[in-house]
Subunit: 137 residues, 2 copies
DNA sequence: TTGCGTGCAAAGGTTTTGCATGGCA
DNA sequence: TGCCATGCAAAACCTTTGCACGCAA
């Protein structure tokens, strides 16, 4: 972004305050509104797209294929094996930072010739709480 | 589906003929049209949603967060560790059926208390061909 | 001053819903 | 015969685009 405006700063700040979450464009819009920092929807979409093309934010496919989700990329640690686990039941987002995932990447690359892009990939399933609830049924 | 109609059979047949692909609702609609088996768009959406809720088809988030993709679930082998690798560049869909993924599931469950749902998860990245192209740049 | 950024309104594309008709069991 | 399924049209949604104005550099 060539220019720095009040709106672009507000969006970036919101993303920084929600590093651990995946936000849809709509959520960004409403969260800003709640803070009294209203930014036009158009601008939200355009800024997010711009930040994404600059590699500043990550863009994920929503769990149900509805809307795209955005999240601030970790500074300098983009390449680190850091996968996201998203609970399809309660929506919780877990951050798995562990060596096993490095092995996974290495294996997939070696045996399947496929280079996983951790910044795009979300593993769906059930978190501990929801899995337990499911079992009790 | 309580009733079996010509349309529901056509959709199911198409899915069976495209087991290895991820089809969007739109693709299902057009592929049927090409076969001369036109089915109303509304019906396509409703049938896919129904089949999904019955566990007969899987539903994935599209790579870019645009539309949902559907695929017939393998008969009886739903629980098998079978992940999908989708190339974000050329769109190729690879099927990774290997023991390592069992280990991954086991590890994530043991260490992170998270139960991965392979039928929902797609690993994004670059396939061998596209990764090579990327390197040559 | 230049030209990017903004936001309104309108357009575009996809998915869902209302309702009358048609077809399966 | 009863009820679900179908499909048209319209509505609802989400996202993008056109255009004039405002503001950062």
């Amino acid at each position: 972004m060539a220019y720095q405006t009040a709106q672009s700063r507000r969006i970036l700040t919101l993303l920084q305050d929600n590093k651990e979450r995946h936000l849809t464009a709509e959520e960004v819009y409403f969260l800003l509104k709640e803070k009294g920092e209203t930014v036009g929807q158009t601008t939200v979409y355009r800024q997010l797209e711009k930040l994404f093309s600059e590699g500043i934010v990550r863009k994920f496919a929503g769990a149900n294929g509805n809307g795209a989700c955005f999240q601030l990329a970790e500074n300098g640690a983009v390449c680190k094996a850091h996968y996201h686990l998203k609970c399809t039941d309660c929506g919780a987002l877990l951050h798995a930072e562990c060596d096993f995932l490095d092995e996974l990447s290495a294996h997939i690359r070696a045996d399947h010739g496929f280079v996983i892009d951790g910044s795009r990939t979300v593993l769906y399933g059930l978190c501990a709480d929801c899995a337990e609830k499911e079992n009790r049924k």
